[in-house]
Assembly symmetry: C2
Homo-oligomer: 378 residues x 2
Amino acid sequence: MSNMYSHVGENLSVSALVVDGDLHLRVGDTQVDIAAIWLRDSCPCPESRGVGNGQKLFNIVDLPADTQVERVRIVGRNVEVEFSPDGHRGVFDVEDLIAADAPPRLADARSESAKRLWRKASEVSPLQWSAWSDYLADPAPALRAVVDEGFALLTGVPTELGQVVAVAETFGFVRKTNYGTIFDVRVEENPVNLAFTGLAISPHTDNPYRDPVPTLQLLHCIHNSTVGGESGLVDGFAAAATLREKDPRAFDILTSTPVTFRFDSADAHLSTVAPMITLDHSGRICEIRFNNRSMVAPRLEPDVSREFYNAYRTFAELLYAPDAQLNFQLDAGDCLIFDNTRLLHARTAFAATGGRHLQGTYADLDGLLSALHIHEEN
Amino acid sequence: MSNMYSHVGENLSVSALVVDGDLHLRVGDTQVDIAAIWLRDSCPCPESRGVGNGQKLFNIVDLPADTQVERVRIVGRNVEVEFSPDGHRGVFDVEDLIAADAPPRLADARSESAKRLWRKASEVSPLQWSAWSDYLADPAPALRAVVDEGFALLTGVPTELGQVVAVAETFGFVRKTNYGTIFDVRVEENPVNLAFTGLAISPHTDNPYRDPVPTLQLLHCIHNSTVGGESGLVDGFAAAATLREKDPRAFDILTSTPVTFRFDSADAHLSTVAPMITLDHSGRICEIRFNNRSMVAPRLEPDVSREFYNAYRTFAELLYAPDAQLNFQLDAGDCLIFDNTRLLHARTAFAATGGRHLQGTYADLDGLLSALHIHEEN
């Protein structure tokens, strides 16, 4: 069964063909083929969608399983459809139907395909610092940098205690953890974590033993009068992509071997099982967990174990390569925002007696992406 | 090259064999084979681990790639190892080495394999309610129920506004979202969400458009003098497991087809791409996203689209089966805690003029698992 309808208007020819109950739409040179059931499920009529919130008012089981396009009519840029067997009628905008073929703009912003990977620190140097006042006037460029390069740097942020929460709240919501709403990064007497010592810390992602992991971290410098204690960032997605290119077998091992990340203290027992490199539903790199301090390597057969360790070593060598690491000093009023699912962060050792006080907090990328969308639309 | 060492003590015979530099340990009837590099990486000596926090002090690249077990000696329950080429020495507890072969107890608590799936409401009836005072004295049974059955019910929780946050803080941390720290579920004049109307809401998971999704939800009834508005819960893991059994092709489609979940309001634009059923690194069901209101079905070729919709419909029929849904009334002082990655929740319609006021908040499973571990250990 086949029906053909067509219409030409405003330099745009639209034609519709119904084959076996499905809709085949041609708009200019573009051809889209649409299953009747998808079309029925996507109907924007007020019976189908809540007015004001646009939320769907019916369930899939409310639609007849044998839904077909019974009749179609092109009126200007509208496609008017009557469905069988239920006789439901819907009016669709031609451009909406074409646009539905494209993936949503920011929805897929989490994998490597939406990023500007940097394999060397020089690719993101010189550093872009946003003045706090400029950032408040227009946060979009800095938020966009977090999505694209994985980090943004603010300067001139008031050095008040707790200010880091105010920074997070410009784009989203703080994620409280066992370290509190805010954690103080300075030398402590009985550190539950090496972060609270003056020791050097090699590149790592934070809290890999949490699930869900905090996807953003903020570090705000209250004051810094010590020598050393430089901050460093490494692009874990870029290193993983290089590994895939140079040593596909090692990449396969690290994406498919679940390892345990663990943290124990008096008031927390956290443990998560995940691969070091996580791929998304389309096989793209979307999350790195790398933390030598809390990783418990799986016990495997000796041969498999050696292969795993070789892969781990090869990945670590890429991550620790001196030219992969972007180094900078955080001074009073500077604030770093970075993607904790992608970037590793590090710091060089500093004198325990010197004064260095950062305040950190965690937040999440979904809030940042929402804020970015709203700022970029305005 | 092979060396054999043995020791018999306290009814336990321990023997060690070194083959090609790896350690083969026999303890009673148990044989464990351990790669030298794993053993070296797992060394508990104070040079390797931070005292007090147990965190690893070296990186994989600090270890020689050709690490081997050079010598081994059994002393009581200790295995004393000398490594080459670096001459490092470590003392391992035999039981620790055997225990390392087993997966950690709570680390893997997120997938179907750690749950008691319930296919019918009758399997979790009659309901177990925990009195607030009993819960405060020992939260473990209710927290354990959230891990095992996916939910717990408290009664006698003070009906003060904001109390739901205090409930969440007994085991973890509140996750703030675009709905605020606390959201009020009652009839609103211009609802951004159908939750804030008196309409019936079919079973769904919350916030599937967030990533990370809030993994726990709490609903606390402040007062309820309306007719209707019963709450319902459905075990999504059980339905997915049934789908895998009865219609493996549909299961494959729903675990491998990424769909978009979307929410738009004046101050939020949220969008996430994920399959309806997510499998973990070992292929086990670990997350359900099911929400007809915010799901945007992917545009696929008509044939593929029909197959996807058939799979979606089959899954929905399992989820909407009347006997799959556990129904109960939340009265003043009742509080429901449930796993939002596993259970779907629903409510029947109620009169907009009646008084029904719930307060909700989100939290995360990692905090709950940590608290449960600590309570169960004490």
